[in-house]
Amino acid sequence: MPYKLLKFGFGREFNESRYFEDVQTPKKTYDVVIIGGGGHGLAAAYYLAKEHGITNVAVLERGYIGGGNTGRNTTIVRSNYLTPEGVKFYDASVKLFEGLSEELDLNMFYSTRGHFTLAHTDSSMRTMRWRAEVNKHVGVDSRVVGRDEIAKACPQMDLDCSGHAAIKGALYHNPGSVARHDAVAWGYARGAANLGVDIIQMTEVQDIDVRNGKVHGVQTSKGYISTGKVLSAVAGFTPRITKMVDIKTPITIHPLQACVTEPMKPWLDTIIVSGSLHVYVSQSSRGELVMGSSLDPYELHSTRSSFDFVEGLTSHIVDMFPFLSNVKVVRQWAGMADLTPDFAPIMGKTEIEGFYLDAGWGTWGFKATPISGKTMAATIANDKAHDLIHSFRLSRFEDYELTGEKGAASVGH
């Protein structure tokens, strides 16, 4: 428990100060400019300042911090991936998440719930066994469970899913958690600002000044900033940034939608995911069911939401939980997911000196916020890719050395 909260609870005055100074005008020069004030960019700024002593850093955000995919995900944190590289990486992130409330002195509402990935077919049972074995090998607490254990953890579920998609078993991942995503962005922002980082909102990067294959600065809506190192951490806007520096990537942008129901009394302890039914659901600390589905079926650089999504999602949710048929969906939204062909991120150095990429986060970015910040900060400070992200380098595509996470990263493929 963060001590500050305890003190606050026993205090008599409740005058909470602003989280960080609202810097309006950027300086002329920075050592590092981070494009994107989401969780990833702010975490990178925090670890640059804290672990590498680089504090002359600007985080440029075109809107407000945490307003992009950081505030649009379904807040699930887990490490039950398919490749050893992926499992190690996300496991390091889960460990950072567990200590994050203390680290940033802000309550992240980090709540470990356990995470069931349901298997409705023999082939998905095979993938679950594969994931469980890889997880155990790397030291992550995942195992295959049968219907009895699922029924015990979630007695409300119709295990036959209305008869047409009977559940055969599941991958159970003990450390699976949810966290309050806004707090992650705000905590890292405050932590970075306290160490001297400038967080400049409502400032759009319009061009990146590259000469002789080296970064010299960025042109923004608030003037030119001179810098030798630029990190792009902009998720769904990545193609627009890479176009400025003329780098090719395999990223495609698809909207990813989510929705919440009206609040209910707590009944769902665990996080439930079904790849076959294309749904994931957990209950928030406010009592709403937070639900997501698969990606929209075609490329679109937009955060519009659609009726097709709610209709498809809710029909599958009702298959699993028939008693929810009268519950209302109160809010839906979308984020722009930057998909890669192998469902692993693209992180590290690029062919342009001083241009670093933290992208390709598709549907799996929030859970990686702390570790991506930490590894990208190390990569920028040492100008050498951190060991944990070697398999996520951009050049893996030209080398045909893909990091296939399709079986674990998302639902509905």
């Binding site: 193609p239 090719k248 395999p250 679109l300 650089h301 937009s302 097709d308």
Partner: protein, 91 residues
Amino acid sequence: MKLLKCPINGTRPISEFVYGGTYRDMPDHEIVTDSEWASYVHYRDNAPGLKKEWWYHGPSGTWFIAERNTLTDEVKDTYLFNKLVEQESVK
């Protein structure tokens, strides 16, 4: 976008269609370099804008080209592939 115009069957609901990706020219594999081929296999023109795309009308089995703005989701035109071939041979 909720409706799309199939060049054969006219305007139909979007649920009848399948997206087939951006239209791309395949390099000649007899003369292409490894790096050009890797680029063709993996990399995409992914910035938003007006693009030529493959779409498929499921019920009738029709593949066709749609010119669609991937930022605004507006469809400028749809036509069969042979029209694209004609346009390109005129150039």
